[in-house]
């Protein structure tokens, strides 16, 4: 009775198997492969007793099976800790049909089925048709085995990096062709490997530095804060350049390749990726990955999580990734998710075009600085009036100028403040117009009431006149009457 030989180097399962660079397969002993040739009867007969009476095959009959080195712990004899950890639902006796024996049955049948034809990939559907178990359990075991390279680990699988390389060349071509300014501009600064030296204190810039395009000056963060630049410059002329650890230790091609391999393999598990790349912390890996120009493509293919919102713009799942290779979104460099206003401003400027955006920004800046200067002048005048001393005024002028320039500087801080100011101006203009109209209305109302009054007066006068006329008539009649009476009296007497 021959017992199964354990496959080569069954290492005791450690907490995390060390990840060596991928293509270094180990070879399983032929006896395990021979099981594939035997009919499925052996699998179900007494799984509890693990000695199976198989004749040792001659080396010529046997086939070699390749599995990756990090799956060395696997053996058809039993269940290792790694499996218990990855598929706990089979081992926690929560559901009666998911027990270790069922798991072993599913796993062994899948592996045997695959090994019958190791050069071709086996699909989940093929497997589940042949297993008498519920399809979800089968799927979980299948995914587990697939992830660990115990099935479908064939040269077809290893060619994945090549496909990625094709994608890489395609996207770099596309980047060169694309006319959009911001995206192509964003790549060179990231890839630059120049060391930044401060212009004033001559020290190597480490974390961040400020570069001025106006007069080609580079200052380290400390000098910038202190204000160690020439008089002609203001703080607005400086652009902040981030130098992370990445710049200090540039990412070599090899490291980048390793990173991408690892991301494709592990997806979201940055710890494993960092381990695979070797020498880079998780944060480094993530930041470098983001900065890669085709990062968003692989993000789609590696089922990237929610951490990177802007890369989700074109994502679907794995299947559609290959079909969407033509599309590629251009990121604008200012689309920093942390500052939503900046992101909006960047978006608008991208829409409007760089020239227009520049002109608008300039106009806004000058307008605000004028406002700042105006305020400073008023301040200066008032100070002058109060103090009335030439020296004091000069000094205050100087301090005012400084203050005004500082005000202008602070006022001209960012574009969104300009926008806010412009909006306020518009608002005041609208208010003034409204007040104007209101006053007109009031005026007309007054005139209206005046006219009413005069009309009433006119009526009154008319009444009086009528009354007078009436009186006059009465009087006349009475006089005529008395006259007649008198005439009659004299005639009678």
């Amino acid at each position: 009775m021959a017992s199964l030989e354990p496959p080569a180097a069954v290492t005791p399962p450690s907490s995390k198997p060390n990840l060596l660079p991928l293509p270094s397969p180990t070879i399983i002993t032929p006896s395990a492969a021979a099981l594939a040739a035997v009919a499925p009867t052996t699998s179900s007969s007494s799984p509890a007793t693990l000695s199976v009476a198989t004749p040792l095959p001659t080396p010529s009959d046997a086939e070699l099976v390749h599995i990756p080195s990090y799956s060395r712990w696997f053996s058809l004899d039993g269940i290792s800790e790694c499996e218990i950890r990855c598929l706990p639902e089979f081992f926690d006796s929560r559901s009666p049909s998911r027990n270790p024996r069922a798991y072993k049955y599913i796993r062994d049948s899948i592996i045997k089925q695959f090994r019958r034809n190791p050069s071709s990939k086996i699909t989940f559907t093929e497997v589940r048709k042949t297993l008498a178990a519920d399809v979800i359990s089968i799927r979980r075991v299948f995914d587990f085995l697939d992830a660990w390279g115990l099935i479908n680990y064939s040269p077809a699988a290893l060619s994945k990096p090549l496909k990625w390389e094709e994608k890489d060349s395609k996207t770099s071509q596309h980047a060169a062709d694309s006319p959009a300014g911001p995206s192509s501009d964003s790549t060179p600064p990231v890839r630059e490997t120049t060391k930044w030296l401060c212009g004033s204190c001559k020290s190597v810039c480490s974390i961040a530095c400020f570069a001025s395009d106006k007069c080609d000056l580079t200052l380290c963060a400390r000098c910038f804060v202190r204000g160690n630049y020439r008089v002609g410059l203001s703080s607005s002329d400086f652009r902040r350049v981030e130098i992370s650890d990445e710049m200090k230790t540039d990412w070599t091609e090899k490291e980048t390749m390793q990173l991408l391999e690892a991301v494709m393999h592990y997806g979201d598990d940055w710890k494993k990726v960092a381990q695979h790349v070797g020498g880079r912390s998780e944060k480094d890996c993530i930041t470098h990955f983001i900065k890669l120009p085709m990062g968003e493509k692989l993000a789609g293919s590696a089922e990237f999580g929610s951490g990177i919102n802007k890369l989700n713009q074109m994502k679907d799942d794995n299947s559609s990734n290959s079909s969407s290779s033509g599309k590629r979104l251009c990121l604008s460099p200012l689309a920093d998710a942390s500052n939503p206003i900046m992101a909006q401003a960047a978006f608008l400027s991208a829409l409007a075009g760089t020239a227009v955006a520049e002109a608008a920004a300039q106009a806004a800046v000058t307008a605000v600085s004028k406002v700042g200067h105006g305020e400073a002048n008023a301040h200066f005048r008032s100070l002058h009036g109060v103090q009335g001393l030439q020296n004091a005024s000069i000094t205050s002028n100087g301090s005012n100028k400084l203050k005004s320039s500082e005000e202008a500087r602070s006022g001209v801080n960012t574009m969104p403040e300009e926008k806010v100011n412009v909006e306020e101006e518009l608002r005041t203009v609208a208010m003034v117009q409204m007040k104007h109209i209101q006053e007109k209305i009031i005026h007309f109302e007054e005139i209206d009431s005046q006219i009413d009054k005069e009309w009433k007066q006119m009526e009154q006068m008319r009444d009086i006149l009528f009354y007078d006329q009436l009186n006059l008539l009465k009087h006349e009649r009475s006089i005529r009457k008395t006259g007649q009476q008198a005439a009659e009296g004299t005639r009678a007497g």
């Binding site: 499925p40 179900s44 559901s95 049909s97 089925q113 559907t125 008498a132 979800i136």
Partner: protein, 244 residues
Amino acid sequence: MKPLPSTSSKTPVKFRMPTSENLVPIRLDIEVGGQRFKDAFTWNISDPDSEVSVFAKRTQKDLKLPLAFATQIAQSIQTQQTEFRSYKGQEMLTGEKIVPIKLDLRVNRTLIKDQFLWDLNNFDSDPEEFSKTFCNDLGIEDPEVGPAVAFAIREQLYEIAIQSVATARESRNAKKGRRGEYSSISSRSTGAALDLMKLFSNRYSGVRKRKEWDVFEPMVDMLSNEEVAALESMVEKWRDLEEA
């Protein structure tokens, strides 16, 4: 060994599949744009619903079906799931329920005909185990037969369970005073089980009569390619006739 309940116990029990695990038989028969996809498998009802779409997509990708299939598959699974769940809260009659299960199926080239008795009361029963042993004992090499057998058993058990829910409802109504017609219906469905008990109770041994051996013997037949083709074309014709 569970002690057998008395023959007259009609204590209702919450609806569930009379097997060790609440696995539901799902049958798919989807036709999209001239392509027909038929499938049958068991589904664990306690798995989260997100699995449905994942499974549908996987199947569609593996079999290289057009995209429309994925949604249809998911829909079909979900309908059958909800149907099962709609029975969930209701009660079903247990009691002495030994039912005959018939197998009559063709998987690829294997033809199987069998009949056996199944205890509905035994909630530990496992059709998968049965099918595994079945295939082993009969030396069936085609690995797709096992799941098909298990599925057929499950489907029949499911049907019977649904029926027993209906009878439970009816018996409840009957208890409310509506005797007469209803009592005959309920007795009819449990008639099969009762007859069997009568059958056994009359005998001194539990061994079957010789003439019944043929009925209860499994028959496995391997068809040749031409016969398979002939059968399939016949089925197609019948289906077209039905649809027309």
